[in-house]
Symmetry: none
Subunit: 226 residues, 2 copies
C-alpha cells in the first residue's frame, strides 16, 4: 500500500485529505508542522509527501531541503501563494510538483498518481536458483556455470525449465507442462517431454543419468528440486 505523508497546519485540509486518500486505499500519515514532518518522514518512510509551504514553525523550502538531504521521495507542494518566485524556489529545492490553493481534491489525487507512477519504476525482485554447478537467472533469462561461462538454452528448453523452476519442489503434471509449452492440443505427446527433459538434464545436471534437481515422477509428471 502506498504511504502518503500529508503536512499542513490547517486541520480541515488535513482532515479532507486524510479521508479522500484513505478512501483511495492510501496509507496516510499527517503532520502539522515542519519538525513533525521531518521526524515522521524519517521514521515512516512515506512513498510520497504532500507538503504545505505555509507552516508555523519553519519555511516550507527548508522542509524540502531537509528531506532532499537523505531521500528523493516524491514531494508535491501545496501553497496559497501563486507567485512565480515561490514556485521556482520550491521546485528547484527539489519538489516534484506545485499546486496552488484552493485546489480540487481530484486534481491533487491525479497529481499524486502522476508522480507515484513515475517513481514506481524501481524495485523489481529477480529470482535466481541453483542447479548443480549452474545458476539459473530467470530475470536475465540466462544460465551461467560457476566460472562465468554461459549455457545456451533453446526457447522450448527455457519455457519448460521456467515452469518447473517457478514451482520449486512442486510436482508439475505432464498435462500442464504440455499445455503450457506446446499448447492445448498437445496434451498427450509425452515424447516431447522426454526429449526436452533429457536435453535439460544434459545441459544442467552434473550427472544427466542420475538427475538430482530435474526429477521424474513416473506416471505423473516432473519436479524441480532446489
Amino acid at each position: 500500500m502506498t504511504r502518503v505523508l500529508v503536512v499542513d497546519d490547517e486541520p480541515q485540509i488535513l482532515r479532507a485529505l486524510r479521508i479522500n486518500l484513505k478512501a483511495r486505499r492510501y496509507d496516510v500519515e499527517v503532520a502539522g508542522d515542519g519538525a513533525a514532518a521531518l521526524r515522521l518522514a524519517a521514521s515512516h518512510r512515506p512513498d510520497i509527501v504532500v507538503l504545505d509551504l505555509g507552516l508555523p514553525d519553519m519555511d516550507g523550502v527548508q522542509v524540502i531541503r531537509g528531506l532532499r538531504g537523505w531521500t528523493n521521495v516524491p514531494i508535491i507542494v501545496l501553497s496559497g501563494r501563486a507567485g512565480s518566485q515561490d514556485k521556482v524556489a520550491a521546485l528547484d529545492a527539489g519538489a516534484d510538483d506545485y499546486v496552488t490553493k484552493p485546489f480540487g481534491v481530484d486534481e491533487l489525487l491525479a497529481r499524486v498518481r502522476a508522480v507515484t507512477r513515475r517513481a514506481a519504476g524501481a524495485g523489481e525482485e529477480v529470482p535466481a536458483v541453483e542447479i548443480g554447478r549452474h545458476t539459473v537467472d530467470l530475470g536475465a533469462h540466462a544460465v551461467r556455470t560457476g566460472d562465468g561461462a554461459e549455457v545456451r538454452l533453446t526457447p522450448t528448453e527455457w519455457h519448460l525449465l521456467e515452469i518447473l523452476v517457478r514451482h520449486p519442489g512442486r510436482l508439475v503434471s505432464q498435462r500442464q507442462l504440455l499445455h503450457d509449452v506446446w499448447g492445448p492440443q498437445y496434451q498427450s505427446e509425452t515424447n516431447y517431454l522426454r526429449q526436452y527433459m533429457a536435453q535439460l538434464r544434459r545441459k544442467l545436471e552434473d550427472d544427466p543419468a542420475r538427475p538430482r534437481h530435474l526429477l521424474t515422477e513416473p506416471g505423473m509428471g516432473y519436479r524441480f528440486q532446489p
Copy 2:
C-alpha cells in the same frame, strides 16, 4: 544536452520558449500540431516534451496517449483551461505535470528542471559502457572509439542500442525491442531487428561476424553483454 520538444500552435509561444530554452542550453525542437509532435518525438527522441493541449488537429490527451504507447518521456502539459476535469484527464493519460496559461517562463523552466531531475534519478547509474574498442556514452548520446574518433549512429540504431545497454546482461525480447523502437504495431517485423542489429555490430563489434557484446538469443531476443 537535454532535448526538449515543444508542441504549441501559437507561434509567439513557440518562439518565446525556443529562445528561453536555448539560452539555458537545451536542445529545442518545435511542432505546431499533434501529428508533427508524434512524428518528431519518434524520430528525435526528446528527453522531455512540453505540450499544449489546444492543438488544431487533434485533442491533446490523444497526443499524450500516442506518446505513452511507446515511451515514458516526461510530459509537461500547457493549457488555457484551468478546469479540474482537464487536469485530471491529462495527468491520468500519462502527463507528468500541468501548467495553466498564462504562465511565467521561470515557472515553466523550474518545472522542466523538476521533471528532468526525477527522470534522471530513475535509472541513471550507467552513463558509459564499453563495447570492444568503443565507448558508449549514454548521457552524451555519443560513441567514441579508443583514439577519440566518433562513431555515427542513426536515430534508430541509437534507440535500439540504448535499450539493450540499459539492461546489461539481460535478455530483451524481440517483441519488446520492436515495440519500444518502432511502435506497438510492428511486433512481428523481426527483419527490422536483423537489419539494425547487423548494422550495430558492423559499427561497434571488433569482429561483426562473431559478436561478443551484442548477442543473439535465437528465437527469443537479444542481449547486451558488458
